[in-house]
């Protein structure tokens, strides 16, 4: 076990998978010589050379398409988007090609590609660069959507994503790259589709993912001071969602708050709430509440941006509401 940053945990996963399987290669803007806009690919060009660490032009649609094609003929590309905001230009390749090829070829051809990069808002990057798109991709049958919240999960889940035989949308947290945490030694692999209880608790379950995990953990600490024992359940994989973990958590605590960074309308939390009310209606002691980003383009103004984001105080307030506390 070593203390590693989220950024370096991703780097370890890439390096170990590229060492393990010569079909794995990395492509994207600035991944080679510049070693990645966020330095996730540091040292990889030196170790694996320009055939496996490929700098691309600023053409998201083009290099995403190259990635899909490479995957169709047997390679295992890892396509880095500088951020998922820029990947909007490539969404046709993800939705209409990557997600559809296995289905439309009658199972003859798969797309074992990983599309990865940072998502969500950082600090004062403006409305066009501060967006959480996981619900876009999770909407699409044929895509898996993975969002690690810790260094250990980042490493273990990226390794699984690379080994997966179908396209995986891997959304990293831009504000998480410097997060440090224990990462198990050796070939640390976490299966996709398995949620993780980051903090056990009896009174309420806070379902979250990616950046909202640390928000929920802070909220849980505050709640503990008033003797509310909150459970923090990290989805880790948005699709396929570990609904069993969600349902059994709600079965234990009977109250649930779902936190996510994105907008409220048709968000990931809406899917969580849907499955809860359908499957464990009789376990609920209160309506399930959601805490989301504000339903507006992200303001640039520092104070407005802060007000638009999910924070521990809003999670605490939602927990109070589902516990019927004043």
């Amino acid at each position: 076990m070593a203390i590693v940053t989220y950024r370096d945990a991703l780097n370890q996963a890439l390096r170990e998978e590229m060492q393990r399987d010569p079909d794995v290669f990395l492509m994207g803007e600035e991944v080679g010589v510049y070693q990645g806009a966020y330095k996730v690919s540091r040292g990889l060009l030196e170790e694996f050379g320009p055939m496996r660490v490929v700098d691309t032009p600023i053409t998201e649609l083009g290099f995403a398409g190259v990635g899909v094609g490479a995957a169709m003929v047997g390679l295992r590309p890892v396509v880095e988007f500088m951020t998922w905001n820029f990947a909007l230009l490539a969404i046709d390749q993800l939705v209409n090609s990557a997600a559809k090829i296995r289905y439309m070829s009658g199972g003859q051809v798969g797309v074992p590609a990983v599309f990865r990069g940072p998502g969500g808002a950082a600090l004062q990057l403006g409305a066009q660069h501060s967006q959480a798109f996981e619900s876009y991709y999770a909407h699409i049958p044929g895509l898996k959507v993975v969002m690690p919240a810790t260094p250990a999960d980042a490493k273990g889940l990226l390794k699984s994503a690379i080994r997966d035989d179908d396209p995986v949308v891997f959304i990293e947290g831009e504000m998480l790259y410097n997060l440090k945490g224990d990462v198990p030694d050796g070939d640390h692999v976490i299966p996709l589709g398995v949620a993780d209880v980051k903090r056990p608790g009896r009174d309420v379950t806070i379902v979250c993912h990616s950046k909202t995990v640390s928000v929920a953990l802070k909220a849980a600490e505050q709640l503990a001071e008033e003797e509310v024992d909150a459970e923090v359940l990290d989805l880790r994989t948005i699709r396929p969602m570990d609904t069993q973990a969600v349902l059994s958590a709600v079965g234990r605590t009977h109250r649930c708050v779902v936190a996510e960074e994105g907008w409220p309308f048709a968000g990931v939390g809406a899917q969580v709430v849907d499955v809860i009310q359908r499957e464990v209606f009789d376990e609920l002691d209160a309506p399930v509440l959601r805490v989301t980003g504000a339903d507006v383009p992200m303001p640039y103004n520092k104070h407005l941006e802060k007000a638009a984001k999910v924070d521990p105080a809003r999670v605490v307030a939602a927990v109070h509401a589902v516990l019927y506390r004043d």
């Binding site: 376990e283 209160a286 019927y324």
Partner: protein, 472 residues
């Protein structure tokens, strides 16, 4: 559009109530929360409050009537609203009151799970009187499927399909969380009798837990599913002189009397009880009480208070006696709540001194005095006379030397306290006159074995003979 006022379940075990007195007259303005009437339940005199505002249009039943839970008792509506269709009907023939099909009336359903067929029909929205003949009437909305299945033919509109059971009553719905609803159904708890603490009175889990700790088990009307018969009209007590000349007086059973009968039969029937008696030298307790009285401040401390304190302290040392029989398990309580039997007119009631082991004698004295006074005026709230873990019954003030008391289920033990009397006894090798007290404990043998009970009594005796041991 009049809103119906129904008899509500005002205690956990209430099946019917006697409307003692109307507090609002016909034509009076009422606001939500106003006291409409006083109702004698099986335990106490409680208040029936308005769930809707307006004008009290009609007393459907007169003061003095005994009415099953959820039966119509009054109508509230707009001033001058016509209520001739809401004519009072005898309990046996209570039908849906037409002219009140409003599903929007915000009112608690009085007895969702324990609703009886007749009373359920009393809260149904009625079919629309203006509906063309060719259209089928609105189906009846039943409070409970089981109740409907058992229902006798009802004076409902002929086209209402028999056996159509729907678990919803839009005009009279208890708001409860799905979890609370499920648990209430599993435990046979009547949600209508539980005050909800959530938004708009929603009953949530914690309300059930609050209500459950003190709830007497196995007496919920829904537990055995037996619909309660509509009660006969309450007759005034009257001396009857039959032709053969021997006079007698028939007194209809009060709600309290009925409950006592049912509970005591429940007790001596299925509960295998044994009795343990010990005699206690009360000289030092006597001196302690005199010393406390001499302090001259605070409430007057009775021997009963001292005994309650000692019982609580002894229970803390013998948790095996601080338990409930729960049919499929024994529940050992972690807190000590001592029930004290208080004689009241027409019966007795057992207010509870909670956490008696943690209270000072002064607190116990003040609390027992207050509870007993309010018990005699029938002003105890349900949570004040339920939830005890062990009982004390004292007939010493009535010169009873010793007696055996009937266990108050699901508690497993009760202590019967006789009088403190001077006796000639051997004391320290001499014949001496000492103040002595006889205590008899009734034990539910399913919970307490002979030695277990005897050890508890031994501790209790030691405490009364050396009162400092209570605070040791």
């Amino acid at each position: 559009m009049a809103t119906k006022v129904v008899m509500e379940a005002l205690s956990p075990t209430m099946e019917e109530g006697r409307l003692v007195e109307w507090k609002k007259g016909e034509g009076d303005d009422v606001a939500v929360g106003d006291v409409l009437a006083e109702v004698e339940t099986d335990k106490a005199v409680m208040e029936l409050v308005a769930r809707a505002g307006g004008t009290l249009l009609k007393h459907v039943v007169p003061a003095g009537s005994t009415v099953p839970v959820s039966q119509l008792v009054a109508l509230i509506g707009e001033p001058g609203e016509k209520v001739d269709n809401g004519k009072p009907a005898p309990a046996q023939e209570q039908t849906a009151a037409p002219g009140d099909a409003s599903p929007s009336a915000e009112r608690k359903e009085p007895a969702a799970t324990g609703a009886r067929p007749k009373s359920a029909s009393g809260t149904q929205p009625a079919p629309d009187q203006d509906r063309p003949e060719s259209m089928p009437p609105a189906p009846p909305v039943e409070a409970a499927a089981k109740a409907e299945a058992r229902a006798e033919p009802e004076p409902l509109p002929p086209a209402a399909p028999a056996g159509q059971a729907q678990h919803r009553a839009p005009g009279a719905r208890v708001k409860a969380s799905p979890l609370a609803r499920r648990i209430a159904a599993e435990r046979g708890i009547d949600l209508g009798g539980i005050p909800g603490s959530g938004p708009e009175g929603r009953v949530v889990l914690r309300d059930l837990e609050r209500a459950r700790a003190p709830a007497a088990p196995a007496v919920s009307p829904a537990a055995d599913g037996t619909p309660a018969p509509a009660s006969p009209p309450r007759l005034p007590a009257a001396v009857t002189r039959p032709t053969d000349g021997t006079p007698y007086t028939d007194v209809p059973l009060s709600q309290l009397r009925k409950t006592i009968a049912r509970r005591l039969t429940q007790s001596l029937g299925p509960i295998p009880t044994f009795y343990l008696t010990t005699e206690v030298d009360m000289e030092r307790s006597w001196d302690a009480r005199e010393a406390l009285k001499a302090l001259g401040d605070g409430p007057k401390v009775s021997f009963n208070d001292i005994i309650i304190k000692a019982v609580a302290a002894a229970l803390r040392q013998h948790p095996a006696c601080n338990a409930w029989w729960q049919d499929d398990r024994i529940r050992y309580w972690h807190e000590v709540h001592v029930s004290m039997a208080v004689a009241i007119e027409d019966g007795l009631i057992t207010p509870v001194i909670r956490h008696a082991d943690r209270k000072s004698l002064r607190e116990i004295a003040a609390e027992s005095h207050d509870l007993a006074a309010r018990a005699r005026t029938r002003r105890l709230a349900p949570e004040e006379y339920t939830g005890g873990t062990f009982s004390v019954s004292n007939l010493g003030m009535l010169d009873i030397d010793e007696f055996t008391a009937v266990i108050n289920p699901p508690e497993a033990g009760i202590l019967a306290v006789g009088r403190i009397a001077e006796q000639a006894v051997a004391h320290a090798g001499q014949l001496a006159v000492r103040r002595r007290l006889r205590l008899t404990m009734s034990c539910d043998h399913r919970v307490i074995d002979g030695a277990t009970g005897a050890q508890f009594l031994k501790t209790l005796k030691a405490m009364l003979e050396n009162p400092l041991a209570m605070v040791w």
